[in-house]
Subunit: 189 residues, 2 copies
DNA sequence: TTCTAATTTCAGAAAAGACTGAAATTACCG
DNA sequence: CGGTAATTTCAGTCTTTTCTGAAATTAGAA
């Protein structure tokens, strides 16, 4: 691997973290490399920079495209495919959230729905089903919230984040405004 | 594995999902079993229910305790250790968020900080560092938000989720209120 | 203390996953 | 159409992770 020092450290870190993030070392490195590359790279650039086999790079790029984290970009007068990561980090965050939800949450949600349709056959199954219902409820609330949030443009998303827990204060303000508008006495209904 | 039907399906699903969630099959199954168990289980109960080796169960329990997802619970007149999952699903969510952040986010944040301290030695490294700064900024904003949110009790967290993107509307309301209070003309300062 | 039950450790076996190079396929050019 | 460059596929190899059983350790009861 011959890369400038900063790039190298960044790439190595992403490789190490790969397994924790549910991707493998090579895929992590390829992503990192493309993320900091000042221009789209072709597969051979990656082979050279990271010292991987050509076929491994091909598979890694495929996986990253499957995550929508890497996109092909055509370069004039070059037959080879080139690849980049979309530049806007907020967009990257959205993509990551979307894909992780699809892989890590949706299958469970759908299994839970199935299991909640069934009739428990033992006392323990009855209890188990109640616990599953709790989990299902939680996930539903989270995904409903997420479906709502994901539609925000980046600017609004940022201000929402900046607001943080202060939102609850706003909630109180809203309460007051509504109450004042109506006259009185129906708060916390 | 001999478990009532619903329990069995639930446990098998968690086993399959394990690898996507960064734990292994057995650990996923053990967690699932404890989650739906109507009372604390000892290691041998788990061995019997899931058909794993005693030592594997021991290691799985250790890992789950490391995640704070499973806690030991002493049972009167029984020398064996028993284990449960904390009951409140919102608390489970907090724990999960906390632990995943610790494992998946914090190390990267700290590496990024280090790399941003260094002086780039090539033109490409300069660009790379700028990209790292973008990533760092994003993660900082997210973790700041998270640090704020995590302090909320479950009730407030739920209402915040229920609010979803409507928060931005509230922001507008706040703007108006503030503006009215002040007189006029200094919105979006 | 001694005895026994419960648990953990750990070296090696088994399984899963990642990686490679050679061969096959695809895509483009003349 | 060839011919060639680029890419993908895949069977086999290598690496890593998971799992096991036997041995060691720990903790409680007598």
């Amino acid at each position: 691997m011959h890369l400038p020092p900063l790039a190298q450290q960044f790439v190595l870190h992403f490789g190490e973290m790969g397994s924790r993030w549910g991707i493998n070392r090579t895929v992590g490195q390829i992503y990192a490399l493309l993320y900091i590359a000042p221009r789209p790279l072709c597969a051979d650039d990656i082979v050279e920079s990271l010292g991987l086999s050509r076929s491994n790079v091909s598979m890694g790029l495929r996986e990253l495209q499957g995550w929508n984290l890497v996109v092909p970009r055509h370069i004039a007068d070059d037959r080879r495919d080139h690849f980049t990561t979309p530049g806007d980090v907020w967009q990257i965050l959205r993509t990551l959230a979307e894909e992780r939800k699809k892989r890590e949450v949706d299958p469970t949600l759908s299994v839970l729905r199935e299991l909640l349709m069934q009739t428990p056959s033992t006392e323990d199954d009855r209890y188990a089903q109640a616990r599953m219902a709790e989990m299902h409820g939680l996930i539903e609330q989270l995904t409903t919230w997420y479906d709502d949030i994901r539609k925000l443009d980046s600017e609004r998303l940022v201000s929402l984040l900046a607001l943080g827990a202060k939102v609850t204060k706003l909630l109180d303000i809203k309460d007051k405004v509504v109450t004042l508008g109506r006259g009185r006495s129906d708060r916390k209904a």
